[in-house]
């Protein structure tokens, strides 16, 4: 099979690429574009380490063919901070020890961004746990992750109020 031309906007940068149709979005990010923050855990949609936002929604990039997402807007962990300034979700994960080894953390943070944007969990820890059940942490830092999500939501809500005022 010959390669197919696609265009992707990744972290605000437009990329024109030729891809083998078998290449997943995950492998494209890691192997072609050196965006290795997105992790390959199970590669079968079971662990969530590869979570990215596509057109604002969290998905498993390991189960997405890059060609099928031609034209999409992709946000990876590399595009979350503003320069040296951490995103409130990143800062909250550090403040609350929301990780141990760190391998699942990019996926946890991208999934948290999706969760907050969906607006379904609110400040209910049980709804947050359920909403993040697609992200496995083998170090079991779940307690800190839930605390981090709660604080990040508060920080973001405060920032929203400041913007609105």
């Amino acid at each position: 099979m010959t390669s197919l031309p696609i265009t992707l906007t990744i972290n605000g940068h437009r990329h024109e690429l030729e891809v083998d149709p078998r290449v997943t979005l995950l492998d494209l990010l890691r192997e072609r574009l050196d965006l290795t923050g997105t992790k390959k855990g199970c590669d079968r949609g079971q662990c969530g380490a590869c979570t990215v936002l596509v057109d604002g929604k969290r998905i498993n990039s390991c189960l997405a063919l890059a060609v099928s997402h031609d034209g999409a807007n992709v946000l990876t962990i590399e595009g979350v901070a503003h320069g040296e300034e951490l995103h409130p979700v990143q800062a909250a994960f550090i403040a609350h020890d929301g990780f141990q080894c760190g391998f699942c953390t990019p996926g946890q943070i991208m999934s948290t961004l999706g969760l907050i944007a969906e607006g379904q969990a609110g400040d209910d820890p049980e709804r947050i746990r359920e909403g993040l059940s697609g992200n496995i942490c083998r170090c079991a830092a779940y307690g800190g992750i839930v605390e981090a999500v709660l604080e990040a939501q508060q920080q973001l809500a405060k920032a929203d109020r400041r913007t609105a005022a």
């Binding site: 099979m1 149709p21 059940s133």
Partner: protein
């Protein structure tokens, strides 16, 4: 993954023509297909990407009071559609009890119906599986089979259908709208999935090229909205397939059951409509004793296909509890853990 041709047709007729060729597979959300391709369980020569076909992503109210859900509507978009969740709460609850948030953002209505069994022997290409390779045999028989079917199984295959979504859908008389080379036709969801018999590889009513374009719910499906629940027992609290699940929907008036729907998940190769149980419920007192009789009727023909006799008693208890939950009323908001037995359900026993 084996090499394949990638086609992205612009119209439904183009898609059907391309997919009618041998070795073709439709790609929508891809959450099941890519997993199967990576494992070598399926190796299509041609991928027909339908994810951008126009007109298939809409949720439409029909003039007759029914609902038409486009085949490409994402699971999360459907479950979080406020009007949908209000009219068909058990369907929304089932959707949200399935998979993970990431998968629900990608997986589609049509793909959910067409997902393959999670039987581990089907997934293991070193094992014999009649569903994957007709005539090869079934290593699940006599193997690790505590999660396998207890209804409608055959010596050729004891796998279950893994969908949560399909369970309340089949209870509510959902209809699958299919477009093929000969035009458009409607098949009830109850008839859409097949039991294995001697041909477990024939999983549903689709012919080569056939495309699911929509799923319809008839007007009557919304009449159960005040008393409809989905209950699902799994081996961990979230992000797991059902061991046994049940969708229950009632219309109760003056303590009598005026209409009843019941379906089971995780027990057969298809979402299992329990019509004999519905007949027991209809006109009877809305009581735990009635529900226990209905549960006995629902499982009357059940038999273990291996080390899974426990699922029959578990299913009886889940049926009773799902009906008790439905009777106590659809909650204003879905619980934090949708369909979970660990959610606090007023009036329901917690020792099922």
């Amino acid at each position: 993954m084996r090499d394949f041709d990638y086609i992205r047709p612009a119209t439904i007729p183009d898609a059907i023509a391309a997919a009618a060729e041998p070795g073709s597979a439709y790609l929508a959300g891809g959450t099941n297909l890519l997993d199967l391709m990576k494992g070598g369980i399926t190796s299509p020569e041609r991928i027909v990407d339908i994810s951008r076909l126009p007109e298939l992503s809409r949720i439409e109210r029909l003039d007759d009071g029914g609902l038409r859900i486009g085949a490409l509507v994402r699971n999360a978009d459907l479950a979080y559609d406020p009007a949908f969740a209000k009219s068909y709460p058990a369907v929304a609850e089932a959707l949200l009890s399935g998979a993970s948030a990431q998968l629900r953002n990608a997986a589609t209505v049509g793909g959910n119906l067409l997902q393959r069994t999670r039987c581990s022997y089907f997934y293991d290409t070193a094992s014999a599986c009649n569903r994957r390779e007709p005539g090869a045999g079934c290593d699940a028989l006599g193997g690790e089979n505590r999660l396998h079917a207890v209804l409608g199984w055959s010596d050729a295959c004891i796998a279950t259908h893994p969908s949560d979504f399909c369970v309340p859908l089949v209870a509510l008389d959902a209809v699958v709208e299919i477009e093929g080379k000969k035009g458009r036709r409607h098949v009830t969801l109850e008839e859409f999935h097949r039991l294995p018999g001697e041909t477990p590889q024939r999983e549903n009513a689709l012919e080569p090229g056939d495309l699911i374009v929509a799923v319809r719910l008839p007007a009557e499906a919304a009449s159960f909205s005040a008393n409809a629940r989905y209950l699902k027992v799994r081996e961990r609290t979230s992000y797991a397939f059902a061991i046994v699940s049940a969708a229950a929907a009632l219309v109760v008036d003056g303590g009598k059951i005026r209409a009843a729907r019941l379906a089971l998940g995780g027990v057969a190769a298809k979402p299992w409509r329990a019509r004999t149980a519905e007949a027991v419920l209809l006109g009877a007192d809305a009581s735990e004793a009635t529900f226990a009789s209905a549960a006995d009727a629902a499982l009357a023909d059940a038999s273990p296909s291996g080390d899974n006799a426990f699922k029959i008693e578990l299913a009886r208890r889940i049926v009773v509890r799902a009906l008790m939950s439905a009777l106590s009323g659809t909650p204003e908001r879905l619980p934090a853990l949708p369909a979970s037995p660990f959610s606090n359900i007023p009036g329901a026993r917690h020792d099922a």
